[in-house]
Amino acid sequence: MKFIPTWLHRLASPQHFFGDIKSWIMWLYVLGTIGFLVGSVWGLAFVPPERYQGDSFRILYVHAPIAHVAQLIYISIAVAGVVHLVWKLKMADVYMSAAAPVGCWLTALALASGMIWGMPTWGTAWVWDARIVSTLILLFLFFGLIVLRRVVPNPTRAATALSILAIVGAINIPIIKYSVEWFETLHQPASIELFGDIAIAPVFLTPLFINIASIYVLAAGFILANMRYLVVERNASMTWIQGWIRGQSQ
């Protein structure tokens, strides 16, 4: 593994990570906040209503990006689990614990906003539909990842258990993705495919893409902020942390 760029190598060391990361987080927060405000105001006020759904379709601009990023966070945790099991990289373990609560909250938000959207359009807030149930399972997997760290006292064992749960649970992701095609669901199929047609009219698209990008950026910021906290918590005895606590250095 020689071809890792130096800046990435620096970030793999907890001390350098802690020193370098604060300004990154601030930039991500600023960029993500501006993006989310622009995308949301655009979607709420500057886009015509949808032909059948009327104004309720505007929930799309928060629901879709958040559901998408929540699933992506789960995949990234599973990848970190593989990296932890195979290469024993400390930061992979930190990443798993930092990303789990972010993914958990975003999944809960995706479910909640979906329920709110379902009330006026489908005529129900909840149905036992393959897409909705598999997303609920995703929420429970995130709960599992958060709880597991607390119930396993040995940190090394906890990290191994977390990795295994993350990897096994990743089976759920293709099920969420393809549930709308394989089963008779009330949830409609995907409107945007990476290598396919887009079923959303062009006027509606720009704010959607702005919000998707903004939630990516914000989620990255949240995860890094959590990692920063965990690095301090887990390295408390190190001299550089002690220096930071006494206020000698940042």
Partner: protein
């Protein structure tokens, strides 16, 4: 202006979804910093005791 608030009867759904999302995002952004400053304070108190 009222139109933007009521949205033809859908306003309550649309706005509650946006407000809920904003609140959770704010919480996710701020909480790690609150937690870190609490941790720092606790370590400082521990150091003073030593």
């Amino acid at each position: 202006m009222m139109e933007l608030l009521t949205m033809d009867g859908h306003g309550i759904y649309v706005w509650s979804a946006y407000i809920l999302t904003t609140c959770v995002l704010l919480g996710l952004g701020i909480y790690p910093f609150i937690r870190l400053s609490r941790l720092k304070q606790r370590y400082q108190e521990d150091n003073e005791l030593k």
